[in-house]
């Protein structure tokens, strides 16, 4: 099997029984819990996209290991076209599910691993790349859903990992054995591991000599004994959990972005799944390369797909209210498009200016400056986009009654009278609920922090920009002498 169907993925999930805690209880069956099911259904929709001939160019790639067709989520970019299709996949998947492509972080992690393990083998004469390629060929052959876990709990930010009072705030090595390693610690804000077959775990940041125990990269199976997933829980979780009818929700099937805290309690990882163990010098490169890929995809394409949905909902809201021809409304909608498409342009540029890294590895990574610009631009732009959605959607976005109340024999007629405008009340409430999900939900802060908070992009842009060259060209034009 090279490509799994959506149905086959769902069948495979029925057999997974990870240890998942969600909203005060243990989950018995990912498809039996409304919250975890929304995550699984989003993943299933991503598999379905790869089945559609219309999206083959975007969703299906050719394995550089076997020559077989594979899901692009498991592809290592080997050229500019691969990078371009990768960011297009991020756009398409977001437009389709309105939440995470939960295989996205895994895809960017495996590209970083392909690049960095190759360099480690070259410089250190290790066998990590050979090992990684075997794992990847296995994942591709079985079309596994692979998620990624990067961010450690981190503890007291003033202290290094080894100085923390609680060592589990960073995932770390407990034991090296003949057959593998034993790890423990906590990764947070992890998207979609609960419904993934495997998760790639990378170091959360650059490490120094003396911090070898924290220098780990590995793949962990979904149900590895000792691994517990504690799901996020918020007002939207409760709304989904306790609603009578999920069709009333802002995004009925795929829901909000579902993350979990992953707790590793002495989890065994066989050597065949270990891709870095103790080599602190390469942790910074591994994380930077991951971020380079992820900022192009997350910042410049995924969130642009969300913006497309928000813009669509906002235009509908304007039409249904009868204000779509009002000049300042049109201007605000154009601004939403401007923020969004500027970021997408940066993602396309990041792909087009991508290059092989390191030379000889065969792995292509996007341009770092454009990728960081894409993410930083959308981090700020997304607030503007949801602000305008709230502005045009009106107070109704947060003051609306339940959609179901329209059917109540007593209050329904009153509500229909109150909320009908240029369209009937049911259409207005449906769109208002959709915009509530986006503008009063989790996505503003999620977009701000996803793929790294903006301060990390500012830092990278300051490092990557040649300010001296800019000063020099300004001086030359002014006729100012050097010195």
């Amino acid at each position: 099997m090279a490509l799994k169907t959506s149905k086959e993925y769902l069948e495979s999930v029925k057999k997974l029984s990870p240890r998942v805690y969600c909203g005060g209880k243990w989950v018995k069956g990912l498809l039996n819990n409304k919250i975890t099911r929304s995550m699984v259904m989003a993943n299933a929709a991503i598999y379905e996209l790869a089945e559609d001939p219309k999206y083959k160019e975007i969703m299906v790639a050719t394995s550089h290991l076997t020559g077989e067709p594979i899901n692009r989520n498991l592809n290592v970019a080997r050229n500019i076209h691969d990078l371009d299709m990768r960011q297009e996949m991020a756009l398409l998947t977001s437009q389709t599910v309105g939440t995470c492509n939960y295989r996205c972080v895994g895809c960017d992690a495996l590209n970083s691993l392909a690049s960095t393990t190759w360099e480690m083998d070259r410089d250190l004469k290790t066998k990590y790349n050979e090992r990684f390629n075997k794992w990847l060929a296995f994942a591709q052959a079985n079309d596994l859903a692979v998620s990624g876990a990067i961010t450690d709990a981190k503890g007291d930010r003033k202290k290094r990992p080894s100085q923390q009072d609680e060592p589990d705030t960073f995932v770390h090595l407990v034991e090296k054995r003949d057959d593998g390693i034993v790890v423990r610690g906590i990764k947070v804000s992890q998207s979609g591991a609960i419904g993934s077959h495997e998760t790639l775990v990378l170091p959360g940041g650059a490490l120094r000599e003396g911090e070898e125990a924290f220098a780990l990269a590995f793949a962990v199976q979904n149900g590895a004994p000792g691994l517990t997933y504690i799901c996020q829980y918020n007002a939207y979780s409760a709304e989904r959990e306790f609603c009578e009818d999920e069709s009333e929700l802002g995004t009925p099937i795929y829901g909000q972005r579902e993350t979990s805290t992953m707790v590793f309690d002495n989890v065994f990882i066989p050597w065949e799944r270990v891709f870095l163990c103790g080599e602190t010098k390469f942790c910074g490169k591994m994380v930077t390369r991951f971020a380079k890929a992820h900022r192009m995809n997350c910042g410049g394409a995924c969130k642009v797909g969300f913006a497309d949905l928000i813009i669509g909902g906002t235009v509908l809201a304007a039409e249904y209210t009868g204000v779509d021809k009002v000049p300042h409304i049109q201007e605000k909608i154009i601004d939403m498009v401007r923020y969004s498409e500027t970021s997408h342009a940066c993602a396309i540029a990041a792909a087009m200016r991508g290059r092989e890294e390191p030379k000889g590895s065969g792995v292509f990574l996007p341009d770092d400056l454009f990728g960081n610009a894409a993410k930083l631009n959308i981090a700020h732009g997304f607030w503007e986009i949801i602000k305008n959605a709230g502005d045009i959607g009106g107070g109704l976005v947060v003051t609306m009654p339940r959609q179901k109340d329209l059917e109540d024999p007593e209050v329904g007629p009153m509500l229909k009278k109150a909320f009908a405008a240029a369209a009937p009340a049911d259409k207005r409430l449906k769109v208002a609920k959709f915009l509530q999900h986006w503008s009063a939900g989790l996505h503003g802060t999620g977009t701000w922090h996803g793929a790294g908070a903006p301060q990390t992009q500012r830092f990278m842009i300051s490092v990557l920009t040649d300010f001296d060259a800019k000063k020099k060209m300004a001086k030359k034009l002014m006729g100012m002498k050097e010195g």
Binding site: L16, P18, F138, D179, Q221, G223, A224, P225, E272
Partner: protein
């Protein structure tokens, strides 16, 4: 651990009674994961109730696994199916090392 083949796969065969019931193919190291789970975590992957494992004996090229309670062969097979899916081994035969897990019910 046995040597892996070029593709880095291994095959794990479940034997219940006299019959070999299911072959699973996983990445090399999958059997080691299963052994660690049984020996160190006292758990079958995918199962969280305590006391499921009554006895574990490592043998050349495999292991004997005795599960607590009175269980039919079908129930034993179902448990092993779930266990392998949870540690990334899927129905099929890989070309690499082969391990046999002899599964029994205690009563």
């Amino acid at each position: 651990m046995a040597l892996e083949n070029d593709q880095g796969l291994e095959t794990i065969v479940v034997k219940i009674g006299r019959e070999e019931r299911r072959s699973s193919s996983g990445l090399a190291g999958t059997f080691a994961s299963f052994v660690y789970s049984c020996n160190e975590k006292k758990a079958i992957p995918g199962f969280y109730e305590k006391g499921l494992i009554a006895e574990v004996q490592l043998k050349e090229g495999g292991m004997l696994l005795v599960l607590s309670g009175k269980r039919t062969e079908g129930e034993l097979m179902e448990i092993m199916d779930i266990a392998f899916e949870n540690i990334g081994a899927f129905p099929g035969v890989g070309a690499g090392a082969k391990y046999i897990i002899d599964v029994k019910s205690k009563e």
